[in-house]
Symmetry: C2
Subunit: 220 residues, 2 copies
Amino acid sequence: MEFEVFETRERALADNEAAAAQTREALRREGARLVNVMGSPGAGKTSLLVRLIEALKPLRAGVMEADVDSDVDARTIARTGARVIQLHTAGLCHMDADMTRRGLERLGPEGLDVVFLENIGNLVCPAEFEVGADVRLVILSVPEGDDKPLKYPLMFRVADCLAVNKLDALPAFDFDLDALKARVAALRPGAPVFPLSAKTGEGVDALAEWLRARLGGDDA
Amino acid sequence: MEFEVFETRERALADNEAAAAQTREALRREGARLVNVMGSPGAGKTSLLVRLIEALKPLRAGVMEADVDSDVDARTIARTGARVIQLHTAGLCHMDADMTRRGLERLGPEGLDVVFLENIGNLVCPAEFEVGADVRLVILSVPEGDDKPLKYPLMFRVADCLAVNKLDALPAFDFDLDALKARVAALRPGAPVFPLSAKTGEGVDALAEWLRARLGGDDA
């Protein structure tokens, strides 16, 4: 008997990539770029976005907050005056291209230069799903430890740049920044690493400058 | 045309629960209990296990370290002298009952009183999958923030007890322990919360005492 073997997982990922490419092109026609912000729960994604929204001005930023539940992050972003919506994934552990497209329709990218998607706090699953972003910004925080690239390599392999947050807490933790940089370089050679503190603001400008150049370029 | 709608996801979860129940019974016949240890990347799961292995003596503990990649955690546990194996999930974001059963076969539960499964660092997916554990121990660390039960409710709903780790770092963070306790109580009434520091050892004995009572009882 002959039959077809249908690779559902690979097919789903391929469909997802095609949808992501469409989203990327549609946003570019609007003059906007998408940044996929990923990291563990509590890495400080929202706090860093609050800083970046300010540091990137006069670029106009909007935010899509994705969470399994709650709207605390969207409330935090709303206080900056930026356009924001809260997306609920109903238990799902990552955002995919179709959910992102529908989120963008609700947010409305008109008049925005950059849209940040704050993905679900998770170092595993979001790394597998393209959402149509021009830049993948991964945030790791000092208290999580410098060994995370060893344990969650895919996330660091897809990172266009890495923010190392909670630098202010460095004295309280056994964290080797050079060791981390070497581990990141092994997975994603050339990706810049920005040590910073969303709490104090230290180091945020360097990341903002890199993002501004990257978002403005045609090769972004 | 009539056809069957096959709920693959629900069926998979039901199959998983049946497999988990078998594992639980098999371990009990061996006189051993299984603890499913869950939490974010960098919450301090391995460091706390190093403390618990010591604090639970004369109970004999073994450990299964699950990671997407690397063996750093298994090496850390091996230094305690406890029986340990490293499991690699090949990209998967959680352990399920079948992977756990196969891990237990490799570890060998003979002569052990308690086996800890350190799950993948992830506050979303592992909460959905029973592995056959008698106790689900969730670890949240102070730097992650007190709002995590709002964003990842299922993990706190399934927690039999919660360890709040990195208490030594409390002065460096804006963390409201009472607010956290109220949020946990709303999701899982009666689940004990143990503030502790795997770094200094503070508070570990209280958790060990609770675990010892729980693992020894027939209702565990």
